[in-house]
């Protein structure tokens, strides 16, 4: 049966009507084979236009529709919906872009008319070969795996967990809460960090729909959005998490003390321990590397002391397979190692520490119980805070981490509260104080805390080394003059970098990293929490340096993206424009398998030809272009359709 093609030329007000010879175009379109109806309309995308189109399709029993008008990027979906409402498969439409790519850019009416005519002819030729495409659905799993239980991961987990949707929250450390749990106060209002996060951690641990797996890492990820199988490996804790209440009876009797190198060995812990006071879950673990039992000795003090019978020496590593519909990477950040550049003097003299070490120092749960002390146990007479350590320099990281200026001001403020007489100085080359609260905080610190600012010529025009009895800082000021100052303590605000394990995690997830080493967004502007792999999302500093509120916001954003795609009990709609293989023609050469960026093509055991997984295929057509046998057809962009369009365009 011949096709019944309707051609509609939208005038788009004067936009198209005045730029081309409409009568000529209408007449020309009527000449083509199978075209049964040619019309023009003022604004086809208006409610009247859509109604007119719908009625026409039905009244004239059209089997294919060509619309010549604005870019398909603007209204293709609008008109597909009209076709659908008219009872026609939405893919039996082709749009000729005679506005953006013709009427708006060609001055001469005759030239514009000639091109528009050819674009319309190409569309008519092509639409004749369009196949109706069905949107298939598959069963899917709406459960979610969140990797990393820092502030981004926990906000994702809490936002996405609900009845009928389970969340697995895995964390490689023995406790959850990430970096924030180790902070004392937070800028700009010096709220207590643990007060902020503990309620969230409690909510996580007591949530019916969230399963927390500590000491756990991803090993392998297979599948696709809605149907991922993730292998995770959980190290042995040697303590029953259900039975242990964290009473600490075992620490007291453990004969092994493990030194924790911190500012000259101030701290230590036992071989059975809880990482820090207030760590959640409040459950002990045995450090297998230092426990005497694992060195072959028959020590069992902890077993005997435990009032709850929670010790499990026999526990082993567990591998589990989690079935989830989506994965969120919230693996946080690493810090620039200041030993990479001798100018920072880190490791060369005592009392040169990083900002993260300073956080530990001022933390009331830390090794000094929050007191700012030198390694000799005395408070410093003066402290220098150095900005941009390893950042904004081509040698290391050319970006600004965006949070260090503010936390360094916070550190200066914390130092001032403890040390009213101390000299407190900041070495910076610029100050980055974005957002609605930063300037207020800066002014407050400036006004109340008596802090001296030294401005450097560039972020790295500074040398820090051991002086006589103190630390000597030489910097080049904005006038190019060298200046020398001595301090008891130096705090280095190191750049936030991608975590050391990021590359491995990206490999497991098969997602890309950006130039700076952080996970790359599907679209940095419009889809910042999606990776390039459908169903794998990210949140927090895994995506790039950011502060706590932004990490939380990204966690919520990732949750929102997942909730928009996966609903418990609802099937998942698949991309209709996918590639298909004709097994009769496929020679099994396997060229396509290596080209598919989505691993959608596979050679099944015992089959001579390959097959394409319809749920994983994204329809790019790279395989179709490369298949030497021509066995692969790209849905909606078949070789035949493109050849036809080409012939139409060339007249």
């Amino acid at each position: 049966m011949p096709q019944r093609i309707g051609v509609y030329i939208c005038e788009c007000g004067p936009n198209i009507k005045d730029a081309v010879d409409m009568d000529n175009l209408l007449e020309d379109a009527r000449e083509h084979k199978d075209v049964v109806l040619v019309r023009s309309f003022g604004f086809l995308c208006s409610p009247d236009g859509k109604e007119f189109l719908k009625k026409d399709i039905q009244a004239h029993k059209l089997s294919r529709v060509v619309i010549a008008g604005c870019s398909p990027k603007e209204n293709e979906q609008t008109f597909r919906d009209v076709l659908k409402n008219a009872g026609l498969n939405p893919f039996l439409l082709q749009i000729a872009n005679i506005r953006e790519q013709c009427a708006w850019v060609i001055q001469e009416k005759s030239d514009a008319t000639e091109k528009a005519g050819e674009l319309i002819r190409g569309a008519i030729n092509r639409v004749r070969l369009h196949e109706p495409l069905e949107i298939k659905t598959i069963e899917c799993c709406a459960d979610v795996l969140v990797v990393g239980a820092g502030v981004a991961g926990i906000s994702t987990a809490l936002a996405v967990a609900r009845k009928n949707r389970k969340v697995y929250l895995i964390e490689k450390e023995p406790c959850i809460g990430g970096r924030v749990a180790g902070h004392e106060d937070l800028y700009p209002d010096m709220v207590c960090a643990s007060c902020l996060i503990e309620s969230q951690l409690d909510a996580i641990l007591h949530h019916n729909d969230i399963e927390v797996l500590t000491l756990t890492e991803m090993v392998e990820v297979r599948g696709y959005l809605g149907n991922f199988m993730v292998n995770v490996r959980q190290k042995a804790r040697f303590v029953d998490m259900e039975a242990c209440i964290g009473c600490g009876a075992c620490f007291e009797v453990c004969p092994v003390t493990v030194p924790m190198p911190f500012m000259g060995g101030m701290a230590g812990r036992k071989a059975i321990y809880i990482p820090y006071s207030g760590a959640l879950p409040n459950v002990a673990l045995i450090d297998g590397e230092n426990c005497l039992r694992f060195q072959g000795e028959l020590c069992h003090f902890c077993l005997e002391s435990c009032p709850f019978g929670a010790i499990r020496y026999e526990e082993t590593e567990r591998v589990r397979v989690l079935k989830v519909g989506a994965v969120v990477v919230a693996t946080g950040f690493g810090s620039f190692d200041p030993q990479k550049d001798v100018r920072y003097g880190y490791g060369k003299a005592e009392n040169i520490i990083t900002s993260l070490e300073f956080e530990q120092l001022v933390n009331s749960n830390g090794p000094t119980e929050g007191k700012i002390l030198l390694t000799n146990g005395r408070p410093p007479r003066n402290i220098a805070f150095v900005h941009c350590v390893g950042s904004r320099t081509e040698k290391f990281n050319d970006y600004c981490s965006g949070v260090c200026c503010l936390y360094t001001l916070k550190h200066a403020h914390q130092a001032r509260l403890q040390l009213p007489e101390a000299g407190i100085c900041q070495f910076h080359s610029d100050l980055c104080l974005p957002g609605k609260d930063a300037q207020r905080f800066y002014r407050k610190v400036l006004k109340e805390d008596g802090i001296e600012f030294f401005r450097m010529l560039r972020p790295d025009t500074i040398e820090i080394r051991k002086g006589t009895g103190s630390i000597l800082i030489t910097h080049t000021d904005t006038q190019g003059e060298l200046e020398r100052n001595e301090f008891d303590m130096v705090v280095l605000a190191t750049a936030m970098e991608s975590g050391v394990e990021t590359e491995g995690i990206a490999g497991i997830l098969d997602v890309k990293l950006g130039e700076n080493g952080f996970f790359q967004e599907a679209d940095a502007g419009l889809d910042p929490v999606s990776t390039v792999r459908e169903g794998i999302f990210m949140a927090g500093c895994a995506q790039g340096p950011k502060d706590i509120p932004s990490s939380v916001a990204q966690g919520h954003a990732a949750a929102g993206r997942i909730m928009g795609k996966l609903a418990p009990g609802e099937p998942l709609a698949l991309e209709p424009m996918v590639c298909e293989i004709d097994p009769e023609i496929c020679s099994g050469c396997l060229v396509c398998i290596s080209l598919c960026a989505f691993k959608a093509i596979a050679l099944e055991d015992d089959e001579p030809e390959v097959s394409i997984n319809q749920a994983m295929c994204r329809g790019c057509g790279v395989c179709a272009a490369a298949c030497p046998s021509g066995a692969i057809s790209a849905g909606h962009f078949s070789t035949g359709a493109i050849f036809s369009e080409l012939r139409g365009l060339m007249g």
């Binding site: 030239d111 514009a112 190409g122 080209l595 960026a597 790279v622 272009a625 070789t639 365009l649």
Partner: protein
Amino acid sequence: MHGFEPKIILFLCNWCSYEGADAAGRGGKEFPSRNLREIRVMCSGRVDPRFVLEAFRIGADGVLILGCAPGDCHYKTGNIEALKRIPLLERILQQNGIKNDRIRFDFVSAGDGEKFARVTGEMVKLLKRLGPFDHA
């Protein structure tokens, strides 16, 4: 060769280059749109070398394949696959007496109407100099 207006077939990827072409139109850039005939594909990697050969066979004077900037491909690496095919395609074209200048691959990002206008302008200028492709 005075008055010769070449005809170029463009293969534009749906996500970046097609948007770039639209942006050039929206922005009212100066470029020789009358010489261009655009075909939308989902990915520049979809461009089968046969499409290019067919374009020349039926009368195109030049072919432009435009894809997303490296690292921006909606399908991760489709643009790079497209780029990798060009040397082979050039050899086939050469064997058929078609100068390499008549085909060009480039990256045009979504919204980069400026570059779209520049690349198409350069191509038309070049083809005007080369003259019509002799299909004989």
